[in-house]
């Protein structure tokens, strides 16, 4: 069991998983997003090979309406 902080909320997953797998679990497949892991941006090309660790802090953002 690992615990992650995603956009300020605690989330538990059964086991370690890649960012790509987490996106599937969160039902965000196909959504245009950007991700920061522990303060560092993770390029989209690295989603498959980036394995999340217990305690990782993630920020996931999207473009929304604004001025």
């Amino acid at each position: 069991m690992i615990q992650l902080s995603i956009n300020g909320a605690a989330r538990e997953f059964a086991e370690s998983l890649s960012i790509a797998q987490m996106i599937v679990e969160l039902e965000l497949t196909g959504k245009r997003i950007a991700i920061e892991r522990n303060g560092e941006i993770v390029p989209k090309s690295q989603y498959e090979q980036t394995i999340l660790q217990n305690g990782d802090v993630l920020e996931m953002v999207v473009a929304v309406g604004g001025g």
């Binding site: 309406g65 604004g66 001025g67």
Partner: protein, 266 residues
């Protein structure tokens, strides 16, 4: 008709026909956002960067579906950031989100009530972003000295406020704006404070290169109609600026009709 070929408007090396940039916030829904943007004729649209709403229905449409980045130039902003670090972080995320996109709107706020820019943090963020390869359009106060500093740092456009964000108070200090416009070697766009079409025309008549607005359109009773009004006002103001206005004559008139050849008085 204005010769648009000779009146090219360039930002960061790209030519645009429209001098109106519009925000995409505060609309009823994405359909209205799209309709207003289209009616405004804007080619550049500002967007905000926010946390993904996890647990939300994934099939819900997103802004990127309503306004495909292939059809519009996106201008991600840093609205809501109160220090340089947050602003830089936000725009790096935006660049990743939009596949290496470089054109951004930097705004660092100083106070939640006035949303007045924090110039000290803005300068700091601008330096970092320019070094990092971004094309930075920068929201700032109407201080001509600061505008010059931001230009020297390498910002690709300077965007002084006309009045407070969302206030609709119009052009409060045309003289400062004119000082900024006259000394700038990069485009100057009026950003924030425009309330209605005449404000947009006045701003363009001052000689600014363009206008960025959101609330004036989105907050109007009929946003689509106001979008059209703004498009026409920006064009009219630009034409009037290029045409050159007549000088103001204080305390004396100047008849338009011939003063000779009048019929004899009875």
């Amino acid at each position: 008709m204005m010769n648009t070929v000779n009146d090219a408007f360039q930002i960061a090396g790209k030519t645009y026909q429209s001098r109106l940039i519009v925000g995409t916030g505060k609309y009823k829904d994405f359909a209205q956002t799209r309709a207003a943007v289209d009616e405004s004729g804007a080619e550049i649209v500002t967007v905000a960067i926010r946390r993904v709403n996890i647990g939300q229905d994934a099939s819900q449409p997103s802004l990127l579906d309503a306004l495909p980045p292939s059809q519009y130039t996106y201008l991600p902003n840093t609205a809501g950031c109160y220090n340089a670090e947050d602003a830089v972080r936000t725009l790096r995320l935006a660049r990743e989100l939009l596949d290496g996109h470089k054109l951004v709107k930097l705004e660092v706020l100083g106070d939640p009530n006035t949303l007045y820019p924090n110039v000290r943090e803005t300068l700091k963020a601008a330096e970092t972003l320019v070094k990092d390869g971004f094309d930075v359009m920068v929201y700032t106060s109407d201080d001509p000295i600061i505008a010059k500093e931001l230009e020297q740092i390498g910002c690709c456009a300077i965007m002084p406020l006309a009045s407070l964000i969302g206030s609709g108070m119009g052009i409060l200090n045309p003289w400062n704006l004119r000082l900024i416009i006259d000394s700038a070697n990069v485009p100057v766009l009026i950003d924030a404070g425009v309330g209605t079409a005449s404000d947009a025309a006045v701003a363009m008549e001052l000689g600014c290169d363009g206008i960025l607005m959101n609330t004036a359109i989105a907050g109007a009773q009929d946003p689509i109609r106001m979008a059209r009004a703004m498009k026409l006002a920006v064009q009219a103001g630009r034409d009037a600026f290029l045409a050159g206005r007549v000088p103001r004559k204080l305390y004396s008139a100047d008849p338009s009709s011939p003063t000779s050849g009048l019929i004899a008085a009875k």
